[in-house]
């Protein structure tokens, strides 16, 4: 018996690992438009450096993921309809998504629970709440929803989140800093406007801070700014970019993590009474292991080691390590970047990032997209470049192995990337990566072949909870592994992933069990669910 186990273990260990080959299919998929974001040789202002995000969402409920790509000044943001067969059609005009401006972030959620996913787009300037009119078109309802702002703000990441669990999606909007073309110094004007002995765009250091915003959703479809009374407005000494929601302390209430640039990142812990307490520093998720603030750009949450707690990955600047904060339980984090096998890719400026299981082995891998903020850096001819490749880490039982060089031309292609969204565009159980590249067309990375392991995608619909089921926690057990994940709006870098949850099942063709904790508090358990398909699950009308 012992011998048999040893032999089995040997064969398991010796089995060759699936090697993905990611190809960029954007052009043949119809994603051919260029999305400008300021200069590509030189950038005069910081506003040219931070945009923009991308989103996967199924706006017409046809079961196929559509695409939204946010644009900087000079071209409109665009909406693409999934036509099937990996083809997309630009429907921006028909769907009334035609606005131009400095679009930054995007997040999705059915804020009025009418069964159609709505879209929120942040801007330097006026944000946009697009109400989905039964999948036929979008209507800009920003003003009537009470979301106009009193002044020009540099809004960045956003997320719909039902922070008070009243069944309606509230809205969190991160703010970067106070910026205007008139008042911001020009390149080289002060010590914060230099890099590698070159004059470059100024900031964020030296530019004034702003604060984050929390809007509470009212029953009538409007929102009220509750930033001050909720405690969100209080810490205002950070340059905030990405928003990542999740129940980090497993208390059943959504918390909010915000990745911040050159300043401490923030962790707002939900106090269950409509308020939050910001505790990132003491919880160990604000700084790096040396107690220094990093240039936090994007953030992703995942239980990469099957501990039952959501850990956080954050992308940072060049000459900084990316940061993996392991959640040791109760939202007490530890920077274990090096011990986890990361931290060696220090030449990149990282942005969009996502835990995702590309090989369906049940262990969440990680993708990271890169691109420098200063195009001028290319003049120095060092190994730090404005356009650079992506990074793909394979998760081997909780340790990460950089397999970028073997992962296909789509990973190795060089762009100055920002937003990254993950989703399954053809419902085949392998995940695609949508990337917003500055001054370029987007990338849509698809694997050339399908991994051998099995999968299931869960499509949750709330009834007592918000219709999008945002905040629902799923515990899935299969092939001896217990995985957790949550449905979340926003995340990565200013982007929106597929709202459905994808799980790799390893060698199992069925799940052992699926437990769902809905935001309403309802618990639901399903067992022996067959994999290899998208499973729709509706929240029970009653029950605890």
């Amino acid at each position: 018996m012992k011998f048999a186990i040893l032999v089995l273990a040997f064969f398991q260990a010796a089995a060759p690992l699936y090697v993905p080959e990611f190809e960029d299919i954007a052009e043949r998929a119809g994603l051919v438009h260029t999305f400008p974001n300021g200069g590509t040789v030189s950038k005069q202002y910081i506003i040219e450096t931070t945009g923009s995000g991308a989103a996967f969402l199924d706006y017409d409920n046809d079961g196929r993921l559509d695409i939204f790509v946010a644009s900087g000044e000079g071209a409109p943001s665009r909406l693409y309809h999934n036509e099937g067969n990996n083809r997309f059609r630009d429907v921006s005009t028909a769907m009334a998504i035609t606005r131009t401006g400095w679009a930054q972030g995007v997040c999705a959620g059915d804020y009025d629970n009418d069964g159609y996913i709505d879209l929120f787009v942040t801007y330097w300037g006026r944000n946009a709440l697009y109400h989905n009119e039964a999948g036929k078109r979008f209507r800009d309802v920003t003003e009537q929803a009470g979301l106009l702002q009193e002044r020009v703000r540099y809004n960045t990441g956003c997320a719909f989140v039902d922070y008070d669990r009243d069944g309606r999606l509230d809205l969190f909007v991160a703010n970067y800093l106070k910026f205007s073309f008139e008042e911001t110094p020009k390149p080289g004007a002060n010590p914060y406007c230099w890099y590698m002995q070159m004059p470059v765009n100024c900031g964020p250091r030296g530019l004034p801070f702003d604060r984050n915003i929390l809007y509470h959703a009212n029953a009538d479809g409007t929102f009220t700014d509750v930033s001050v009374k909720s405690g969100i407005a209080a810490p205002n000494q950070s340059y905030c970019l990405s928003v990542l929601t999740g129940d980090f302390d497993n208390d059943g209430w959504p918390d909010i993590y915000v990745a911040c640039d050159q300043t401490p990142s923030l962790l707002y812990l939900n106090q269950h009474d409509g308020t939050f307490r910001e505790e990132a520093l003491l919880r160990g998720a604000a700084l790096n292991e040396d107690g220094k603030a990093m240039s936090g750009m994007g953030a992703s949450a995942g239980d990469y080691a099957h501990t039952g707690w959501l850990s956080i990955f954050r992308s940072n600047f060049s000459d900084e390590r990316e940061t993996l904060y392991r959640n040791n339980g109760r939202a007490e984090f530890e920077d274990i970047t090096l011990a986890a096998g990361m931290g060696r890719n220090t030449r990149f400026v990282g942005w969009g990032c996502a835990f995702f299981d590309f090989d369906n082995d049940g262990w969440r891998d990680l993708a990271l997209v890169n691109g420098h903020v200063f195009p001028e850096v290319d003049r120095k001819q060092t190994d730090v470049r404005f356009k650079d490749r992506r990074i793909l880490y394979r998760n081997i039982q909780g340790k990460f192995n950089d397999i970028s060089e073997q992962a296909g031309s789509g990973i190795l292609a060089r762009h100055s990337s920002r937003g990254l969204a993950v989703g399954d565009i053809d419902n085949d159980g392998t995940l695609e990566l949508l990337i917003n590249n500055q001054g370029d067309r987007p990338s849509l990375l698809k694997q050339a072949s399908r991994p051998p392991d099995h999968w299931v995608v869960l499509d949750l619909k709330g009834t007592r909870s918000n219709r999008s089921a945002i905040g629902a926690r799923v515990v899935l057990t299969a092939a001896g592994l217990k995985q957790i994940d949550e449905i979340r709006s926003g995340g990565s870098y200013l982007s929106q992933n597929d709202l459905r949850l994808h799980f790799g099942l390893g060698s199992a063709t069925r799940t052992d069990s699926i437990e769902i904790l809905w935001p309403s508090g309802t618990r639901q358990t399903l067992s022996n669910v067959e994999g290899g398909r998208v499973v729709g699950i509706t929240e029970p009308a009653t029950g605890k």
């Binding site: 160990g284 007490e332 530890e334 060696r344 190994d383």
Partner: protein, 337 residues
């Protein structure tokens, strides 16, 4: 510099008529019209005119003629006169490359006028000129010395040209294989020159080579430990850090690094002990306080953790990290104890 001091002096002479040659001479000096200043000041019988005439002569490269009067002015009881004359004397010595004579003058001025921008500026000029002069002599007298390559490497490092710096250190090592610190500097330059993981291994060899010359170099052990940590060789890294602390028990960075390892190993009390010592030695170290905060937190000592958090936040308030980081990148070792 001239304007502030002159305002004081002019104010003290305000009772005089505008036609007084002292006043006219001081005003001409203040606006840089040295011929007019000299003309007026030579006409004046006032004792103050002697100092200002000397200042004028010094400003027009006639230090030899000015020096006796400037020396008297520097010994004056009147502090503005003393300051102006002292600065002029120092400038004259610097111009004549008499750096040893300028040094005590500026030391006195710094003691009497601490934080004075003009005094600090002239002090900086002194060191810059002295540096340039010594460097010139080194290049001229011993152009093929390994020291020329070593200093070239150090200059290139300050300019961010780490690959070129590494090349100079290699030349220095070729000329003097036994030279202390050369392998250490080369290792540092290599680490700064590239983001490639392979560079870690090359740099590690250089630190090992440094240890071959000086096995008691705690900083080299520490650098090796950092590389081993980056390579996820935790046990070996810890051993190196322990060795570094055997050699220098008050090495704050090594205490912090080992404390962090103890933290990861959940040896919280050991971590607290090491990190507390580091924080004592370097009260402004954010790394020490941050990890001490986490060690207390992990040990369940939340009040202590919050106290460290407060200290950390107080340290982190000023956003002056850039220049400090720049200095760190120069790879200076801590001063020898």
């Amino acid at each position: 510099m001239r304007v502030i001091s002159l305002c004081l002096l002019l104010a003290s002479a305000m009772g005089r008529a505008q036609s007084d040659p002292l006043i006219a001479g001081m005003k001409a000096y203040a606006r840089g019209d040295y011929p007019a200043a000299e003309r007026e000041l030579r006409r004046s019988q006032d004792p103050q005119a002697i100092t200002f005439l000397a200042l004028t002569l010094a400003a027009t490269n006639r230090c030899d003629e000015a020096m006796p009067s400037l020396a008297k002015g520097f010994n004056s009881a009147e502090s503005s006169t003393q300051r102006l004359a002292g600065l002029a004397v120092a400038q004259c010595h610097i111009s004549a490359a008499r750096f040893d004579e300028a040094t005590p003058i500026l030391s006195q001025l710094k003691a009497k006028f601490p934080g004075d921008a003009d005094v600090l500026y002239v002090s900086a000029r002194l060191h810059m000129r002295a540096w340039n002069d010594a460097l010139y002599q080194l290049y001229k007298a011993s152009p093929s010395s390994y020291r020329v390559n070593q200093i070239s490497g150090e200059i290139l490092e300050t300019q961010g040209q780490f690959a070129a710096a590494a090349s100079e250190y290699r030349k220095a090592i070729e000329k003097n294989p036994e030279g202390l610190n050369l392998h250490f500097r080369l290792g540092r330059a290599l680490l700064m020159s590239s983001h490639e993981p392979a560079t870690l291994e090359t740099a590690l060899h250089e630190f090992e080579a440094e240890l071959a010359h000086n096995p008691r170099d705690a900083v080299a052990h520490y650098q090796i430990a950092q590389i081993l940590l980056a390579q996820d060789k935790v046990t070996e890294a810890s051993a190196r850090l322990e060795r570094a602390l055997q050699l220098d028990e008050n090495f704050p960075e090594a205490l912090v690094a080992l404390g962090k390892q103890r933290l990861t190993d959940k040896r919280n009390e050991d971590a607290v002990r090491l990190l507390s010592r580091a924080a004592e030695l370097q009260p402004k170290s954010e790394t020490a306080h941050y990890n001490l905060m986490l060690a207390y937190r992990n040990a369940g000592r939340l009040d202590d953790a919050r106290r460290e958090k407060d200290k950390l936040e107080a340290i982190q308030k000023p956003p002056d990290g850039g220049f400090t980081d720049f200095l760190k990148k120069l790879g200076e070792k801590p001063p020898a104890k």
